[in-house]
């Protein structure tokens, strides 16, 4: 049921007037009768008083003004988008306007928050997910396996804090919080491999000081000491790199995907994320700072901070959602308009479960969660929208609409 146009107009007029009075009150520009009018409005109801207090709160004012400043910045691009849709602008590279009904079908996690927030007195909020599930799965943790150059393997876990091996003159230590550190120099190129299983992650400090965060189901092959004129490592899966600056020795990440060669990322000293899981048939390199050159075969592209190179048969460069790409490294899941398939892939790797998709899953989700929560907790939020259903049996997760 929609309101009639008249009552909406009246609301608008009323809102304008009250806003004028509150803004004037804040500015100290009200006349005495206007101040009286405002006082009358405030004392009219508890809700009005509450709203007045909210709107005159210093932090809220600041946030309100900041939000306007932010929107003013986005305005020009949005106007172009509107003109393009209307047809007074030629098609450009700007994202086309979606009909809002498409947006309306994009049901976000906030939906469930909204319901709960507005129903404080409702104690019987059902959890559809909890109902269909008997067990739970704990999240991944810091674990990996180190393979030394002579083939020996050492299981790494975050509790150890000690020297664990030597490669020539290089000592390999564990710091005790899911981190392995290479220290020293050696002329022989002895290759080591650190691999994480599903449900595992680990951090490495390489011999040159470069830091690498390795996500689940990934591995990094690297020399214990970088003796040659180049620094080259090989990555399977996903890694976040903070490359130690050394302009005389470029740092190259060679990416191996399940389908073979995923190209190279070449840098001098910089911070970036490489995702070579290849779920969508491509390797994504996201640059946080510095500059990197991404190549595959004979193709080669330079990307700038905030950009992402997507390498498949060709190299495409797009604007990156940095926080989304690197959330994992900070112990978070961050999904924006993510399909259940891309969410499912991340769940599979981090919770070490098999994922089966049933039916047509078209919904997109926005959600943020810590990676250290049990699986059920992560899924409850999404299940709460009623748009997706999960069944968990042992280590098998079924996702269906």
């Amino acid at each position: 049921m929609k309101e009639s146009s008249n009552s909406h107009d009246e609301n608008l007029k009323k809102a304008d007037r009250v806003a004028y009075l509150i803004a004037g009150h804040l500015n100290g520009t009200l006349t005495n009768p206007e101040q009286d009018e405002l006082d009358d409005w405030i004392t009219e109801s508890d809700e009005n008083l509450e709203l007045f207090e909210k709107l005159t709160d210093e932090d809220n004012i600041e946030a309100g003004i900041q939000q306007h400043i932010q929107m003013e910045k986005e305005k020009a691009a949005e106007l172009e988008r509107v003109k393009e849709t209307i047809g007074i602008r030629k098609r450009s590279t700007i994202k086309k306007l979606w009909p809002y009904l498409v947006a309306a079908s994009v049901i976000l996690l906030a939906a469930s928050t909204y319901v709960i927030k507005n129903n404080n007195n409702d104690k019987e909020i059902e959890k559809p997910f909890a109902r269909t599930t008997k067990n739970d799965v704990s999240p991944g943790s810091d674990k990996a396996v180190l393979t030394l150059s002579d083939g020996r393997t050492i299981i790494l876990d975050s509790n150890q804090k000690s020297l664990i091996a030597n490669e020539g003159n290089i000592s390999i230590k564990q710091s005790g919080n899911g981190e392995i550190i290479y220290d020293g120099t050696d002329d022989a190129m002895k290759y080591n491999v650190v691999s994480t299983p599903r449900g595992g992650q680990y951090k490495l400090v390489l011999g040159d000081g470069t830091k690498v965060w390795l996500n689940a189901e990934s591995s990094l092959k690297f020399p214990a000491g970088f003796a040659s004129s180049e620094r080259t490592v090989e990555l399977h899966g996903e890694g976040f790199f903070e490359v130690a600056k050394n302009k005389d020795k470029p740092f190259t990440v060679k990416i191996i995907t399940p389908y073979g060669d995923g190209g190279f990322v070449k840098v001098l000293g910089t911070t970036f994320n490489v995702n070579g899981y290849n779920d969508e048939g491509s390797v994504k390199t996201t640059l946080i700072e510095g500059s990197v050159s991404v190549s595959k075969g004979t193709a080669n592209k330079l990307i700038r901070p905030g950009e992402q190179a997507i390498v498949s048969d060709e190299i495409k460069v797009a604007k990156a959602e940095i926080d989304e790409e690197t959330a994992w490294k900070d112990g978070k899941f961050l999904f924006r308009d993510a399909s259940v398939y891309s969410i499912g892939e991340q769940i599979k790797r981090w919770y070490d479960v098999e994922v089966e998709y049933q039916g047509k899953n078209v919904q997109l989700f926005n959600t943020e969660a810590n990676r250290n929560v049990p699986l059920k907790e992560l899924l409850d939020g999404m299940a709460g929208t009623g748009l997706v259903h999960f069944e968990l049996e042992g280590r098998k997760l079924i996702i269906k609409p």
Binding site: M71, K75, E78, V82, T85, A104, E126, G386
Partner: protein, 193 residues
């Protein structure tokens, strides 16, 4: 760049004639508060931006049918309101919890008025502040919003008490002038050559 004042009337005439400058003016004037409004209702800024962009597309499509200039703003707010409510309803429907539906629906109308008041308040404050020099804007914020004493402001900014007083007075004069001009619905376009 000199500001060329154009009345909302002129903008309206341009809009009806299919001149995109008319659209520019209304867009520049109402885009931010509308997004703010839709965000308050839907809780989701990205959705809000789509709704508002779509509202301007609709405005353009309906431009010939609008009776008078004063109807543009209510029309935009109405379109955005209805689209936001549709979005919430759509969401409710998909959540499929009959018991909770009524409660949400009842809150929509109240929160819609609250949201209107909120957006208009902050929009007015924002517009007013844009008319001040950076220095008086800073003093103004400290004095009126953060409720700091004149002496405190003077110490913090390392200027004399008299300077603070003068700047404050000047700010008030500017604001009073501006506030009355708001009632004449004068639009200042910043993007014209």
């Amino acid at each position: 760049m000199p500001q060329k004042p154009i009345t909302e009337q002129e903008a309206f005439a341009a809009l009806q004639a299919g001149n995109e400058k008319g659209l520019d003016l209304f867009f520049n004037r109402y885009y931010s508060p509308l997004v703010f409004y839709a965000t308050s209702l839907t809780n989701q800024k990205e959705v809000a931006k789509e709704i508002v962009a779509e509202a301007f597309v609709k405005l353009w499509a309906k431009k010939e049918a609008i009776e008078e200039c004063g109807k543009v703003k209510p029309l935009l707010y109405k379109i955005v309101h209805d689209a936001s409510v549709d979005f919430i309803r759509e969401k409710e429907k998909s959540i499929k919890r009959a018991a909770n539906l009524r409660i949400i629906s009842n809150t929509i109308e109240r929160s819609s008025l609250d949201a209107l008041i909120e957006v208009e308040t902050y929009n007015q404050l924002y517009l007013l502040l844009q008319n001040l020099s950076p220095r008086s804007r800073q003093i103004f914020r400290m004095f009126y919003f953060q409720k700091k004493a004149i002496k405190e402001i003077a110490t913090e900014l390392n200027i004399s008490v008299n300077t603070v007083k003068t700047q404050k007075l000047r700010a008030i004069q500017t604001l009073k002038k501006y506030q009355s001009s708001l009632y004449l619905t004068v639009l200042y376009s910043l993007i014209f050559i």
